[in-house]
């Protein structure tokens, strides 16, 4: 008897293949390149991500949505949009790293190959249409990040960050896998499309195994996305990891994991809407409140940005809660606002981290808000202005991408009838302004402690990152039509 192989549709996973093969080539090239030439690997990695973006654009115009590899992969515009956002985040992070690693004397090591492997995991996560693909993708991305977080081998904080990230990451992975196993046990399938069909109009929705599985999966997601009260690891890990790595993981991981969450709950488990929306509702409220309140007391800029990213995840979650597939209009508004918010968040958060990277000195990372950011505007007016824009955008001031994102998210929540979420969202955004504006005030009103020092030279790649983030942050705030249309065009989650 011959077992017929599944259709071998390599074109469908072109972006993943490009990045994964690029990672392997970079790994092998790493062995033969003299240490002085290592930055070249960074540009190779950058090229790989750009080619992968090209492949995404090519697929976007082609025959989508399509299922590939025995329905384990769903190539649709939703996945492609998320992949493009992830790849943009990765490309900017790579540009951010090239000079940072050299200046901080961190050594390149396996940095760029690892980054590419991680990105390949993120891409697979965005396309995963099966519980098995989903958790393998999640692990590819996590394993890479564990090592990247500890890539500053000479620094105790970096190793500590890696160990904490690893222990909590694998702990949460245990919950996630246990949850998926229970879902499989209750329904007899691991495929998202088949799950949806199996649950539609069946008596299974009250099955205790299924509900326990859902709860465990959501706990796993909450850990990975740093949603309160499962966020304890985030500030330590974000502040201990090298800044360029923090920038990358705060953006890429969130984008890809949110996409997977949205695909799982709306693509596979819409029948359980009442259950997961209630759970996420509670998580969203706690996350918005705790993340933003905790950020106020931080003096270290990386810790502050870590708590800020927790709060931001809360806002995205608001829109996920509102994704009720039984109301198509509401669902479209909610899902497109998730995509838009993730895109806006990528640019503004990476921009903020780029400024932190630009200020770092080899002997001192310059992370203290009071000491190092005071009076920055006088010494480095351009960097200070850029930081001000990113802070205002993260805070949700009009004419920035962050404002448009929040507006769309809260509008979707109100349309879906979740006005308490919108109220808490607006109130916590007001609280959040306290710490975002504090940075701006320090920069423009404070007295610099490093006045006699020569201002830091901003290397060209870093300047490019700053410029791209700045332009995108302002452009998406004033003219959100282009990304928003793309996000609306991306709302085809796995038609069977």
């Amino acid at each position: 008897m011959e077992i017929a192989p599944p259709p071998f549709d390599l074109g469908a996973i072109a972006p993943f293949l490009i990045v994964a093969v690029g990672a392997m080539i970079a790994l092998l090239a790493d062995l033969f390149i003299p240490p002085a030439r290592r930055p070249a690997l960074g540009y190779f990695a950058l090229g790989t991500t750009l080619v992968a973006i090209g492949a995404c654009v090519w697929l976007w115009g082609g025959a989508v949505p399509r299922l590939a590899f025995a329905n384990m992969i769903a190539v649709d515009r939703f996945g492609l949009f998320v992949t493009i956002v992830t790849l943009i985040g990765a490309a900017l992070s790579i540009l951010l790293s090239v000079d940072f690693l050299q200046e901080q004397r961190l050594g390149y090591g396996e940095y760029f190959p690892l980054m590419l492997f991680t990105v390949s995991g993120m891409i697979l996560l965005a396309f995963a249409n099966d519980l098995i693909t989903f958790f393998i993708a999640l692990e590819i991305l996590s394993l890479g990040l564990y090592i990247l977080a500890g890539s500053a081998r000479g620094r105790a904080v970096s190793q500590e960050s890696a160990i904490k990230y690893f222990l909590l990451g694998s702990f949460s992975f245990g919950f996630l896998v246990y949850g998926t196993s229970l879902i499989y046990g209750a329904t007899g399938t691991t495929n998202f499309t088949a799950l949806r069909v199996a649950l539609e109009g069946s008596g299974l929705t009250d099955n205790p195994l299924l509900l326990a599985g859902l709860a465990l999966v959501l706990v796993g997601f909450a850990f990975k996305l740093a949603l309160a009260p499962f966020h304890m690891w985030t500030p330590d890990v974000y502040s201990g990891a090298p800044t360029a790595v923090t920038a990358f993981m705060s953006v890429g991981t969130k984008v890809a994991t949110f996409a997977a969450l949205l695909r799982l709950v709306t693509g596979a488990l819409p029948a359980l809407y009442a259950d997961w929306s209630n759970a996420l509702f509670a998580l969203a409220i706690v996350t918005m409140i705790l993340g933003n309140l905790a950020a106020i007391t931080q003096r270290n800029i990386k810790r502050m940005l870590a708590y800020s990213s927790i709060g931001q995840a809360g806002y995205v979650l608001v829109a996920v809660v509102a994704s009720d597939t039984t109301q198509p209009g509401v669902n479209d508004a909610a899902q497109s606002s998730v995509l838009f918010y993730l895109l806006a968040y990528t640019f503004m958060n990476l921009g903020a981290f780029a400024v932190v990277v630009a200020l770092a000195r080899p002997d001192d990372e310059r992370l203290d808000l009071d000491r190092d950011y005071a009076g920055l505007a006088r010494r480095q007016p351009l960097l200070a202005a850029a930081m001000a824009v990113f802070m205002l955008s993260l805070g949700g001031i009009p004419l920035t991408a962050g404002f448009m994102g929040k507006l769309l998210v809260f509008r979707a929540a109100i349309e879906a009838g979740y006005w308490p979420l919108a109220v808490v969202g607006v109130l916590t955004s007001a609280v959040a302004l306290a710490f975002y504006l504090r940075v701006v005030v320090r920069m423009y009103a404070g007295e610099s402690r490093h006045a006699e020092e020569r201002p830091a030279r901003v290397p060209v790649p870093l300047a490019v990152v700053l410029a791209v983030c700045l332009v995108a942050t302002i452009q998406f705030g004033i003219l959100p039509a282009i990304p928003l249309d793309a996000a609306r065009g991306a709302l085809t989650i796995t038609a069977p």
Binding site: M1, I3, F8, M24, L31
Partner: protein, 118 residues
């Protein structure tokens, strides 16, 4: 039924014969110059009179870690081998790809010196 046990018997005999063959080749080929230290019982290369709290070289851990990684590939080889006839050329190509990817990792570990003994 009997045929099945015959296969197992042949398997056992093959394994034993193969082991005996390798060992006897070893006896014939290797030099034999015993010293007292060499005749001690083997403790991973560490003299076994030291106190228990002595340190081991991290090399052992590195080798162990690599072993875990490459050992686990077998978990995919077994089901593939069982279904080899049915999978045909497609399965062979897939498995070759899989092993090539592993070999890239192996080459990396080798070249980086992770396999050097001390």
């Amino acid at each position: 039924m009997v045929d099945n046990y015959a296969i197992i018997l042949i398997m056992i005999l093959t394994v034993l014969g193969f082991g005996a063959l390798l060992l006897s080749i070893g006896v014939l080929v290797r030099p034999y110059k015993p010293t007292p230290r060499k005749l001690q019982s083997y403790e991973s290369g560490v003299p076994n009179i030291e106190p228990l709290k002595g340190r081991y070289t991290p090399r052992f851990y590195v080798i162990a870690i690599l072993f875990v990684i490459f050992d686990i590939e077998a978990i995919f080889l077994f089901p593939w081998a069982v279904a080899f006839d049915q999978l045909g050329l497609f399965g062979l190509v897939e498995m070759v790809l899989f092993i090539v990817i592993l070999l890239i990792g192996y080459a990396y570990a080798w070249r980086r010196g992770a396999l050097e003994w001390v």
